[in-house]
């Protein structure tokens, strides 16, 4: 039997790269992430990696890599025309590493705004943080070329970056005809904090704290994916009890997010009573988070090689709390679904077709509500997921309602999983940390692992980390983070077309994308 979750690194010539990627993509292999690493110190060139879920070898990843050499600038043939899901990844590489994808349809700067110096690429290894800081000019005018629509009766509505409510920052440029949205050009990355570079600066251990702060409401999933990547790289297998704890908290994070999102949708339609019910139930779960881990956002539990505390010790009180949540959740859903005015608003807007979801690489709720059966918990099961039998829920309507109902299905499923983990976690197996957790990657044994992937299906969708150690094995050469929101943000402009402007907040809430998770 083939090893599960194997990572097959396949090196191809630069000329074959686009064709190879397109071949896998069109045969149904999902593009999980794409990035580049500056490996000029060791290899003499930069490497591009495109991570696909393998088709032939189910459960494994095919990682297509190719070299990009400096020929008076780094260039390669863009794969976006044939693999649309790659379009933001390629723009990101152009911004962060100065690797130009030739033939890409949209090469406007994605990540770095106008105050950043031109021609300085933060993820190149020879650029230090100080180099960039000294050249940042806050006075430089914003000259981002927004796409505009011209014609009779067309007008523009600029929104953000500071929004009316308590929301993260982003700018949306609507072109509207009457009340209908004709075109939307979002500009994000206002919360860009240079996290990937910071990972290289702080080392493996402190990287956990960074991973926990990439997106607050996905703190646990991010740190789990990061820890799994480093552990995979070091060849560390964590104790069964640690796996149970991690799986439990991943599901708890999903649960509080989904319940909170269902409540927040009510705020989008002005259904105050529904919002209040949802918020109250979410607050109950946040209090449970705090009681179990000491943090309302489940921070400080993950460690490289295991977990810092056994949150499953008090089975009885957790079970009691979960049954209260189960009952209240049923009551809240019944109450919300009984509001005709609310449910009517949800039906129709924010439509994402299955075809668009597949082509643009949607993930998580967004993909599954459009009929794409994709969930890392079954596609690439790690942690405890190969021991739990469960069904991947999907919906076919692809609108706001479908995403709301899917969240309800998944929340119920998570509740069942939490109870199942509580039952299965045997109290006699107490070890929380792997014995060999602290070793560094062995520099001599490169094939044995200087690089690895880590992944988790979070509340918003799949989260991927790629970690590669420097030649000495002690410090990271590259940490690539791919959050679920990075995949789903580019979908949003396609889902709002012909919907009315007042429905935009509702549609946005139905995806519940993280700005910080995307911008990093």
């Amino acid at each position: 039997m083939l090893p599960r979750n194997a990572e097959n690194y396949i090196r191809v010539q630069p000329g074959e790269f686009a064709a190879r990627c397109a071949g896998i993509f069109h045969a149904g292999g999902r593009l999980r992430m794409m990035f580049a690493a500056d490996e000029r110190e060791t290899d003499g060139f930069m490497n591009i990696y495109a991570v696909f879920s393998s088709i032939a070898d189910h459960g494994s990843f095919d990682i297509i890599t190719t070299a990009v050499e400096d020929e008076g600038g780094f260039r390669y043939q863009s794969i976006t025309p044939r693999v649309p899901a790659a379009h933001w990844y390629e723009r990101e590489m152009a911004c962060m590493l100065g690797i130009v994808p030739e033939g890409h349809p949209d090469l406007r700067p994605l990540v770095l705004h106008d105050m950043y110096p031109e021609g300085v690429f933060p993820l190149r290894r020879d650029i230090t943080a100080e180099d960039i800081r000294s050249k940042v000019d806050l006075a430089r005018d914003d000259a981002y070329p927004y796409k505009t629509v011209e014609g009779e009766g067309v007008f523009e509505i600029p929104v953000g970056p500071v929004h009316a409510g308590i929301i993260e920052p982003g700018h949306f440029r609507f072109s509207a005809v009457g009340e209908s949205i004709y075109f939307l050009d979002p500009r994000l990355f206002y919360t860009h904090k240079g996290v990937e570079k910071l990972f290289e600066q702080v080392g493996f251990e402190r990287g956990i704290q960074l991973a926990e702060r990439i997106s607050g409401t996905s703190s646990f999933c991010h740190s789990t994916a990061y820890c799994l990547a480093v552990e995979n790289m070091r060849g560390v297998d964590i104790p069964i009890r640690a796996k149970a704890v991690r799986t439990f908290l991943v599901e708890l994070e999903r649960l509080y997010n989904h319940i909170g999102d269902i409540g927040n949708l009510c705020a989008g339609t002005g259904f105050a009573a529904g919002y209040a019910e949802g918020a109250e139930l979410k607050e109950r779960l946040m209090a449970l988070n705090h009681r179990l881990t000491g943090s309302r956002y489940l921070r400080g539990v993950n460690k490289l090689g295991g977990v810092s505390r056994d949150v499953l010790e008090d089975v009885e009180s957790i079970s009691a709390e979960l049954s209260v949540v189960t009952d209240e959740f049923k009551a809240v859903m019944k109450f919300i679904m009984s509001s005709v005015s609310h449910m009517e608003r949800l039906e129709g807007p924010g439509f994402l077709s299955r075809e668009a979801a597949v082509k643009l690489g949607a993930t998580g709720i967004a993909a599954r509500a459009s009929g794409v059966n994709d969930d890392l918990r079954t596609a690439h099961p790690n942690l405890f997921y190969d021991r739990i039998i469960f069904e991947v829920h999907t919906r076919n309507r692809g609108d706001v309602l479908a995403r709301m109902l899917l969240r309800a299905d998944e929340a119920a499923c998570s509740l069942a999983m939490l109870r199942s983990i509580l039952r299965k976690a045997k109290p006699q197996k107490k070890e929380l940390m792997a014995a060999d957790a602290q070793q560094d990657a062995r520099p001599a044994d490169i094939s044995g692992g200087r690089q690895a992937l880590g992944w988790v299906e979070g509340a918003r969708g799949s989260i991927f980390y790629f970690v590669k150690a420097a030649a000495d094995g002690k410090s990271p050469l590259r940490v690539k983070v791919r959050s679920a929101s990075f995949c789903n943000w580019p979908l949003l402009p396609f889902t709002v077309l012909n919907d009315i402007v007042p429905d935009f907040p509702l549609i946005n809430k139905s995806f519940n994308l993280s700005y910080s998770g995307c911008d990093m």
Partner: protein
Amino acid sequence: MFGKIFCNIIKSKRVLNERELEYKNPEEAAGGLVRRDIIPASFRGSVRIRQVDAGSCNACEWECIALTNPIYDVQRFGVDFVASPRHADIILVTGPVSWSMARALEKSWLAAAEPKIVIACGDCAADGGVFRGSYAVAGGADKIVPVAYKISGCPPSPADIIKGIRGALALLCGPHKGPEPK
């Protein structure tokens, strides 16, 4: 600027039982109400907050949103979040101030009418937190706007934020400490 004088970091005890109580009675956990008589006279007995996310991870935002839920219900203390800085008395900053948000933060501050104060909410806004040293952040709200008060925590819990707002107002409105309206 009064900002420099009142710079203070609250150190709150993180005890499990206290938090359990918090869920049941947030008012008690926050050390009582934000009383009308501690809100500076220049604010006319109630304050309005414009929250500005300057590169936060969104945990602080969710805690601010939780303040308006039925459990914490901060409006009953005479405190509310508003849509425009023009209506605000307090600019509540979260996040380490990414360069891309620096100007928007400054503009929000300038748009608010006097009297006004800035509160830095959370460790990132206080001094950059875990993001200090990154090329992309200023490393604290006080690098861009005059901060009057800092609330620590990553993120500070809703009760911590109420405590912080209360603390900031109490400082401003002590017997001889109220800012002179311009």
